[in-house]
Point group: C2
Chain length 432, copies 2
């Protein structure tokens, strides 16, 4: 049986730390010599999860021609999606089907699309496009957060302001202060349920505080990326208050764009993406879309809807996904617990769903740990990438993505990760 | 047997014209009373054409998991498309697979995407984004042309300049004059083969003249929408010179974005879209795409490639499409010939491929004809829509889209169209 760590690294004497570093370095060299190539960099489903959805593709194509109102999905038309898809995903998100647009295969692309259009063409109710105003537009970015959100706003030169995350969601006092005082603040990136990378779910009071915002700008939008809306993998699913229900009380529905996709329900990049918004926004965005395309892939929409049938069918499907995801998280969390607990060199989250674990090490260790892992064949998400401009000011956060490797690979990877964390921490402590 | 028209309407006496108008109006009232609802407004394939592609959807999904290099297409990755799709469509367009990006389901969306990105982010080799320069950007628009092209440039406030079309393509003297003298001219919309709406194919000298352009702007792009690249429906397929081959002589490859899709090969809005461009452009655009999405629907890409196998398979498939399209065109052209030839009130094109016939009536008749048709239950493309801002300066052009109605419907529709043309022409001549 492994010995429990009795002292934190901080409590050790300099000599003890030197001995421990030597021991960990020896272990690291052994691990490195094994010549692994493991990828824990992205929140990708593994093949067993993808196998779960094959029946979607095996449906009789002759049963996938007509919608219930008789539209031939193989032809042009139905710009905002087929009714049954709007209904299903409306049910999932708790909004009427009239408030749904079905987009392409990627919710990220839908978000990009809505940032660039807001920048050039403006949003409903705004007096000018974001990019035509005197002050450079600004976005609030709860951190650590989703790197691809931040890359979108960076691409358009939108200034990003970091907002600290808590287990209840972003620091809402700070959010309110920025949003209500600065008309250049045009948006905020949110992953409200099983947040990327922590796996936190915004508390009802947080959602309520969002709904109650009175933005200084007339064209402020909350980008509510509900990527993990049905992605709980334990018995207890986190509860997320429906933001549109909250907004109704304040008349603030126009402030929210909600996004989701089936990329982590069925096939990554080959499912359907969804936008939910107020009637005013839907009308405005549908007109913009009518210039852009004649419609998205409706055959794929119908394929998904006919397979799930309804929201319960989708939930059953997600319980199957959970059977494969949960052991990965259990494995990763057990490795962290076994390898690092009691050492005083890091903390990590223990989510009920989503795709990530957020690990905070000692300041100044994240980049070093990333490099050590990389040299030993374990690819992590780039250190710093969960922060705007890719810069973690304390250089301490690492996103762990346990879904993609097989369990044996994951076990090895996490052991290597723990060794690298120890080395990086000891080096930092010895510098002092 | 029907009597051949012996006199043009212009040669008729005023009394003869009055009698003819009365006769046509009587006929019109009979046709109207039938209460038809026919749609000739858009270039939509009919159901028999869509039925041709069902085997694409009936493939064994378990054979559609891995690309030839072993990538699982159900997962994230392969941003610019799977190799075999790039290879197939590269072969179709006569460019190496390295010069291909496979986009979503809509080439129109790809074009929109490239206009908006050029506007906000700029293009390869350009010093500033189009939207950040002193002069408002301008686009050349061969007319009559594709309404949805013009709606994109209109959406971004890009000034549109009409360029007359000839059977050999746009008036290249005028194009050259604008492109080479005015740095605000940033692009031109082209449908080089079986043009929309005429069905003209640009002559080799026209393509050569495009390749030889020396734009005043450092960020000028030819939007080469090769929508009907394999859409000949007669024995004789028009020949289009490969623009990239022509550009190579002048070192002007960076000037061209070529687009195509399978919307009128397999399923409208549920196929794949393709962009072909120079190595410089592909590198530049791929980086931009990497911010936007993790990739398009690769399962659908593989489905298409495995079904066609190669460019010959695609051509065989298009001969099947031709079996259904050609009779529609023959029916429409026969109706025009029988109804209107010799009257001196209109001319029309007789294409070897594509989806449209362009009809030019007497000046001042197009809108009237559109309205008469609409009142009799025949929906045409809006009069004027083939011109920038929806305004046909002579109000004479009508786009005929014979593909969608059944042959019997088409026959009735075209008879009504001829009656309406006669009435509109007679009314105009009697005004004088």
């Amino acid at each position: 049986m492994e010995q429990k760590n009795l002292k934190t690294y901080q409590e050790m004497s300099a000599a003890e730390r030197r001995a421990e570093l030597a021991a960990q370095k020896k272990l690291y060299e052994q691990e490195k010599a094994a010549g692994y190539h493991f990828d824990m960099s992205r929140g990708k489903p593994d093949a067993t999860q993808l196998n779960l959805s094959m029946d979607i593709l095996a449906q009789n194509p002759y049963d996938l021609i007509y919608t219930r109102k008789g539209t031939d999905v193989r032809n042009y038309g139905e710009l905002a999606g087929v009714d049954e898809a709007k209904e299903l995903f409306g049910e999932v998100l708790g909004v009427p089907m009239e408030n749904i647009i079905i987009g392409g295969q990627s919710s990220l692309a839908l978000m990009y699309d809505n940032v660039i259009k807001a920048y050039v063409l403006g949003v409903y109710g705004g007096s000018k496009p974001w990019g035509r105003q005197e002050a450079n537009p600004r976005f609030l970015c709860p951190v650590p957060g989703y790197d691809r959100h931040f890359r979108i706003t960076e691409e358009f030169g939108i200034e990003m302001i970091s907002i600290p995350m808590t287990p209840q969601g972003p620091d809402m006092d700070l959010v309110r202060q920025y949003v209500e005082s600065d008309p250049a603040v045009k948006g905020i990136w949110c992953v409200p349920k099983y947040s990327n990378p922590q796996g936190y779910t915004y508390a009802p009071e947080t959602v309520e505080a969002f709904a109650a915002l009175k933005p200084a700008a007339d064209d402020f939008r909350i980008f509510w990326d509900n990527a993990y809306y049905v992605h709980g993998f334990r018995e207890q699913d986190d509860y997320l208050l429906n933001i549109f229900d909250a907004c109704r009380k304040y008349g603030s529905e126009d402030m929210v764009y909600e996004f989701m996709s089936t990329s982590k329900v069925t096939f990554a990049g080959a499912g359907v993406a969804v936008l939910a918004a107020s009637a005013n926004n839907i009308a405005f965005l549908t007109r913009q879309m009518s210039v852009q395309t004649l419609g998205y892939n409706k055959i794929n929409q119908l394929r998904h809807v006919r397979y799930f049938r309804n929201v319960d069918g989708l939930r059953v499907h997600m319980r199957k996904q959970a059977m494969y995801l949960r052991p990965k998280f259990d494995c990763a969390l057990a490795a962290l617990d076994r390898g690092l607990s009691g050492l005083g060199i890091g903390t990590w989250t223990n989510p009920n769903g989503g795709y990530f674990i957020s690990y905070d090490g000692l300041p100044g260790t994240a980049r070093r740990c990333f490099e050590l892992c990389a040299a030993a064949g374990v690819r992590l998400t780039d250190a710093g990438s969960c922060y705007p401009y890719g810069v973690d000011p304390e250089d301490k956060n690492i996103r762990i993505a346990p879904s993609y490797p097989g369990t044996a690979e994951l076990y090895q990877s996490m052991n290597i990760f723990c060794t690298c964390q120890k080395i990086a921490a000891l080096e930092t402590l010895m510098d002092k």
